[in-house]
């Protein structure tokens, strides 16, 4: 019986093969590498090279193995040990050992590949983007700009049709939330809804790009990458009182549309720029967001090393979309990065003066913008008084006292050690920082662009190398991050991994085109990039789902419809504040403490206390909320913010009952409902029908459909009845009207359409 099973299985497989076997030549990257990664690299890769064989680097794959033979004989599969081993009848010889064998199709692919000469290929992301991709519009498809040509061409290939434009209200809310993280104000809504032509849309976009809230929205994305927080991390998690100056630097940089290459250089090596300005030095606080450990008995050098390792990992994740942490201990299991090369990168970062000191030294003394101005004023006044010979007067003494009270903040920054104190870098054997191997100099991995001789071998050189036009990864990785924010999914879905284990790009030509444009025509301008994307028809499509299209592409990889996803933790809070009228639109400044349930910060002995702001700062944007690593703001944590202990490229969106409890009951959301009701009652005291439409409009920029309106009205009426029937509450008629309206507002602020970006 067993035998018959096997025979029929072979026949079945043969049939399958026959039907699926293509006669095209085999492509190493798309056909062979995935097979090697899946079946072979665990034992013949960067971690282990058993029997002297590794498929990680081309030269190793064709080299002689320990047996004295080469695993691959180009042009002759049947003479190749690789092929013999994956097809052997002898269970002791059959590869992979102790794991499921390759499928017939996979074996066939390997056979054909070897027979065709076994040519190796470089992974797509390590080759420079194609600068001359041909763009031709698909006939009859809607297109505003080049983006659409790429998208439509691929839709055509997939036999999918694009969607029509989203309605004006949806688009207005979408683009406003996407560019500024806030829903439009009534004035902004009016600006667009009175002119929904292309010109009107472009005017709206320009208006949003020019808003100060633009920088806030994009800073909150960047701060996840920069692992920014207001505390040091680890056990004591001491407070970093002034690190918010870096957060403001980021907001400002986005608002000024600082070219992204400059944005990069200043954060990694602003201190090393010739005649570095205060702001350029402040930018380097970026890599001082690493954690500091002040627990008793810890070895400062151990945690300094941990911080430097984190800087290497973070830099490579952010700019190179390359996950490199595993190379700390051994060569990369799947990507062509050698163990020693990791320490080549480490060497670039190993000579800064910080050493896990609890004071976070070195720091830069920096006056807040307000104090800075005050200081100038006082100096002027004091000089005048002094020139009048008035130094003994009460006025002078008083002013002097006030002047001396202006104290600068100490912001941790990067600072290079003087030459004579510089550390030498050694490979850490198996990643153990106490076991030093070979000494290494700063160098970049061999599989990427060569490091230009003109660059200095320090952080500045590294930063320049990252943003050099020849670097195949940086621009792709960065435009992909912005794309993901606007579509909910990257062109490469694995934002953090452009390596061979990451997802291949869904639209490589588009990605390459965007990347090349970003570096050349756009001159690294983020605003130009974003404008181009949101102007496209692709972006403006309706997110309504058509069943056939959904069946063919449930994840909307090919973008035959607009994307629809849950708002970020920050946007959920900010939106409720904005539409209800509670919003404090002040930009920049020290971190704030909105309402937080009692006891949440009862974290550790050394805890600072949570002092709730009561004078308006509690309604600032979520971005300004004090961020403690051991205890991030609870309602935001429920909506998937990371702890900011490590760089995180993608927040994984979840959908849980605890989220419903936040938007239903968190005091700030309750206050928002109350404020919304109050505002509407003030305008339409007598008329619940109008109030319902008014509040719904404030939330979603459109009036409710009749059915929704009916439901909200019925809910209002039954709530009124409920309050009336509960005699013990002794509410007056107007109080009942108010509370019933609050309940309606609370419902509106919890609608799926409100929680989602449509």
């Amino acid at each position: 019986m067993k035998k018959r099973y096997v025979t029929s299985w072979i026949i079945f497989s043969a049939l399958l093969l026959y039907s699926s076997c293509s006669h095209d030549t085999i492509d190493f990257n798309s056909d062979v590498r995935p097979i090697l990664n899946k079946h072979c690299l665990a034992c013949h890769g960067g971690v282990k090279a058993q029997s002297g064989l590794s498929f990680l680097f081309e030269e190793d794959a064709y080299a002689l193995t320990k047996s004295g033979q080469s695993a691959i004989v180009r042009g002759n599969a049947h003479a190749s040990e690789l092929f013999k081993r994956i097809t052997s009848d002898d269970p002791d010889l059959l590869m992979p050992a102790d794991r499921p064998p390759l499928s017939e199709q996979e074996i066939k692919t390997i056979e054909q590949w070897i027979n065709e000469g076994a040519s190796w290929g470089t992974h797509w992301a390590y080759l420079a983007p194609d600068r001359d991709a041909e763009i031709s519009a698909a006939a009859g498809a809607p297109a505003v700009n080049e983006i659409d040509h790429f998208i439509m061409a691929q839709l055509d290939e997939q036999n999918l049709k694009p969607s029509a434009r989203a309605d004006a209200a949806t688009l207005l809310r979408r683009v406003s939330l996407d560019l500024t993280g806030l829903p439009p104000t009534p004035a902004e809504a009016q600006l667009y809804l009175s002119d929904t032509t292309d010109t009107g849309y472009e005017r709206l976009i320009d208006h949003l790009l020019a808003s100060d809230h633009f920088g806030e929205r994009w800073a909150s994305v960047w701060l996840d990458l920069a692992r920014y927080a207001d505390s040091q991390g680890y056990q004591k998690d001491l407070i970093r009182r002034s690190i918010w100056r870096y957060r403001d630097w980021v907001i400002h940089a986005f608002n000024q549309d600082m070219p992204f290459n400059q944005f990069t250089i200043e954060q990694i090596a602003g201190d090393l720029l010739p005649d570095a300005t205060e702001h350029q030095i402040l930018a380097t606080a970026f890599h001082r967001n690493t954690m500091t450990n002040d627990e008793g008995g810890t070895d400062d050098e151990e945690f300094r090393v941990a911080a430097v390792l984190d800087r290497v990992n973070t830099t490579f994740e952010i700019w190179q979309g390359t996950t490199i942490a595993c190379v700390q201990c051994h060569s990369h299991p799947y990507d062509p990065i050698k163990h020693e090369e990791y320490y080549g990168l480490y060497a670039f970062f190993n000579n800064t003066a910080d050493r896990d000191n609890s004071m976070d030294l070195p720091v830069m003394e920096l006056y807040s913008p307000i104090d800075h101005n005050a200081k100038i004023r006082y100096e002027k006044v004091l000089t005048e008084l002094k020139s009048d010979g008035d130094t003994l007067s009460d006025t002078y003494q008083e002013k002097l006292k006030e002047y001396l009270q202006l104290q600068p903040a100490a912001v941790p920054i990067m600072s290079e050690l003087p030459k004579e104190e510089q550390r030498s870098t050694h490979v850490f054997e198996k990643g153990n920082w106490l076991v030093h191997g070979k000494k290494v100099d700063p160098h970049t991995p061999g599989f990427l662009t060569p490091f230009d001789e003109s660059y200095s071998k320090d952080r500045l050189g590294l930063a320049k190398w990252l943003v050099s036009p020849e670097n195949p990864l940086t621009a792709r990785v960065i435009v992909n991050r912005f794309w993901e924010q606007l579509f909910g999914r990257g062109l490469v879905a694995t934002l953090e991994d452009f390596g061979t284990q990451g997802d291949p790009p869904s639209h490589q030509e588009l990605l390459d085109w965007l990347a090349v444009e970003f570096m050349t025509a756009d001159e690294w301008s983020v605003k130009t990039l974003l404008k181009k994307i949101v102007l496209s028809h692709t972006y403006r499509q309706s997110s309504q789902i058509r069943p056939k299209q959904y069946a063919a592409d449930p994840l909307n990889v090919y973008l035959s419809r607009g994307s629809r996803y849950r708002l970020s933790a920050e946007a959920i809070r900010d939106q409720a504040l904005q539409v209800s009228g509670l919003f404090n639109s002040e930009v920049y400044g020290a971190s704030v403490m909105p309402h937080q349930p009692e006891g949440v910060w009862n974290v550790i002995r050394h805890a600072a206390s949570w002092r709730q702001d009561t004078t308006g700062d509690q309604y600032r944007r979520a971005l300004y909320t004090f961020w403690r690593r051991v205890s991030p703001y609870p309602s935001m944590q429920t909506f998937d913010v990371p702890s900011r202990e490590l760089c995180v490229s993608r927040r994984i969106r979840t959908n849980t009952p605890l989220q419903a409890l936040v938007t239903l009951n968190d005091p700030v959301f309750v206050e928002a409902a109350e404020q919304m009701a109050r505002g509407s009652l003030a305008k339409y005291a007598q008329d619940i029908d109008t109030r319902i439409s008014d509040m719904y409009y404030a939330a979603l920029m459109k009036t409710p459909e009749p059915a929704a309106h009916r439901d909200l009205l019925a809910f209002y009426n039954s709530t009124v009845e409920d309050y009336q029937s509960k005699q013990e509450t002794h509410l007056s008629a107007s109080e009942i009207d108010f509370y019933a309206t609050v309940n309606v507002a609370n419902v509106i602020l919890n609608l799926d359409e409100f929680i989602m970006r449509n």
Binding site: D98, R99, P101, Q235, E295, G296, G297, D299, E317, T323, I324, Y334, D335, E496, D497, G499, Q501, S543, Q544, I545, Y550, R564, P597, E598, V600, N602, V603, I604, R629, V630, S631, D640, S643, E645, L646, I652, T654, N655, T656, P657, L658, Q659, A660, L661, V662, L664, N665, D666, E705, F715, S718, Y739, N743, N746, V747, N750, D752, E753, I755, N758
Partner: protein
């Protein structure tokens, strides 16, 4: 044939318990499912017998875990690891050979040896040693397995606690319960699958990272049931919104959401509607589950509970109530065990004594109560600190401390386990004559984790998650199941 059927059913059972994974929106869970179900083990070449053997190992004995973590690290030398020789050496200078190449948190120079501070006796048929500080617990020693040679590399609280609960001394990894609920899902959809209960003066040094979801989706993070204020944050409606009104509100929200779904067709909307209904149910089930007042007097006497307090006793009783309701991973933290000699509130004759008193009755009651309800058969209870204490007296700054205390020590310490297929009345592992080094039966933290996962029916090497380019596991790249302590 019969055993295969049984195995098949066991697998089916696990599949249905993990029904949430069927939801297409949670593809990650589905990935874990694939690896958990042992896709890799069923090779063509391996025989039926070896498959059966493989699967038998994977039948879950435990449906849930109650982990009693004594944050701060209680002294094994005052509780379970009785060392008469240490008494003889009391007050003598510690030999150099014990100090060479060692790193301590506080010990400086040459400390003195410190004998056991309390008397010991043997109890039960198992003749297990227990000190006078745990009179109640000494009566149930035949129900537990003592692990006398657990060891860890970490000697500071935060890293060691993180190591115990996330498998890594650094922050950023998922908590134990996150891994378990990610892998197995929750059996009670009206309560969180991973619940955290904290007592003592504040939360443990490792912070909330101990029960954070790390790189796993945030739905797997531990939910703290608070003793004061709302048990779950934001679970209580504002004063003027009654349960009736809330019910109507959620109905209205979902009616309008249904209209959106009819128009837009996004299945995410249906999922959100379900979450709102679930939130509404939780508003009922959480207060009900946490209402200790509903327990009869004899239970309060058994545990020593006083509803309304923040106490380890209340948390033990709550743990049993949650176990009854099929919560998957119930994590208790009781803080204040850092028995240095530098202060009155934590030294061996001060705070330590008090802590022992606080835990003795309730943890014993928990075992008795779980057993009498038949829950001990599929509930695994684990007790222990993040490391142990030195046989030497701690002497920070090189001078003698005012009180009797011991420094941090990771080379050998005692934990105990009971329930869900763990052998009873046994002692596994042994330390040397002064309790300094393990001489047999060493269990590393990763081994302990592998064993707990094994009892839950999970192969610790298969429960993985891809992050930063590599597959992560709770047990990192280590861990061996300790088959000797399970039946």
């Amino acid at each position: 044939m019969k055993i295969i059927q049984e195995l098949h059913e066991a697998q089916q059972d696990r599949l249905t318990r993990r029904h949430f994974l069927k939801d297409g929106s949670i593809g990650l869970g589905a990935m874990a499912l694939g690896s958990l179900m042992g896709c890799q083990s069923s090779t063509q070449t391996s025989s039926i017998e070896s498959q059966v053997k493989e699967l038998t190992k994977k039948i879950p004995k435990a449906k849930r875990v109650i982990f009693l973590h004594m944050a701060g690290a209680p002294s094994q030398l005052e509780l379970f690891d009785y060392k008469p020789l240490l008494q003889k050496l009391n007050g003598q200078a510690c030999p150099d050979s014990f100090l060479e190449g060692k790193r301590f948190a506080f010990i400086k120079g040459v400390p003195e040896m410190l004998g056991p501070q309390f008397s010991f006796q043997q109890y039960g048929e198992s003749r297990s040693w227990v000190s006078e500080l745990l009179p109640e617990f000494s009566q149930v020693v035949d129900d537990v397995a003592f692990l006398k040679a657990v060891h860890t590399e970490e000697f500071n609280h935060a890293p060691a606690q993180l190591f115990m609960h996330t498998g890594s001394p650094r922050t950023g990894r998922p908590g134990f319960g996150s891994w378990v609920t990610y892998g197995l899902g929750s059996e009670n959809e009206n309560l969180p699958g991973f619940v955290v209960l904290v007592s003592g003066n504040s939360i443990p040094s490792g912070g909330k990272s101990l029960w954070g979801s790390g790189f796993l989706p945030s739905e797997y993070q531990g939910v703290e049931l608070r003793s004061k204020g709302d048990p779950v944050l934001y679970i209580k409606n504002p004063d003027y919104i009654s349960r009736d009104i809330r019910k109507k509100a959620i109905r209205t929200i979902n009616e309008i959401n249904q209209q959106s779904y009819d128009e837009i067709g996004d299945p995410e909307i249906l999922s959100r509607m379900a979450q709102y209904e679930l939130a509404f149910k939780m508003q009922m089930t959480v207060p009900e589950a946490t209402n200790l007042s509903s327990e009869p007097d004899y239970i309060h006497e058994l545990y020593g509970t006083h509803p309304g307090e923040v106490s380890f006793a209340n948390n033990c009783l709550l743990a049993r109530r949650l176990a009854e309701r099929d919560v998957r991973f119930i994590q208790l933290y009781h803080r204040g065990w850092d028995s240095h000699g530098s202060n009155d509130f934590e030294n061996l004759h001060g705070g330590f004594l008090q802590r022992c008193h606080e835990i003795d009755k309730p943890m014993t009651a928990l075992i008795i109560d779980l057993k009498q309800r038949g829950l001990l058969e599929d509930t695994l209870v684990v007790w222990g600190g993040e490391f142990g204490r030195t046989p030497m007296q701690e002497n920070r700054g090189g001078i003698k401390n005012p009180f009797k205390g011991r420094d941090h020590h990771g080379e050998a310490f005692t934990m105990w386990m009971t329930g869900a297929g763990v052998k009873t009345g046994v002692t596994y592992g042994e330390t040397d004559e002064i309790g300094y080094h393990a001489i047999s039966g060493k269990i590393h933290i990763h081994d302990l984790q592998a064993t707990i996962l094994h009892q839950l029916g999970v192969d610790h090497e298969s429960l993985t998650y891809q992050f930063q380019g590599r597959e992560f596991r709770l047990t990192d790249v280590h861990g061996e199941v300790v088959y000797d302590i399970i039946s």
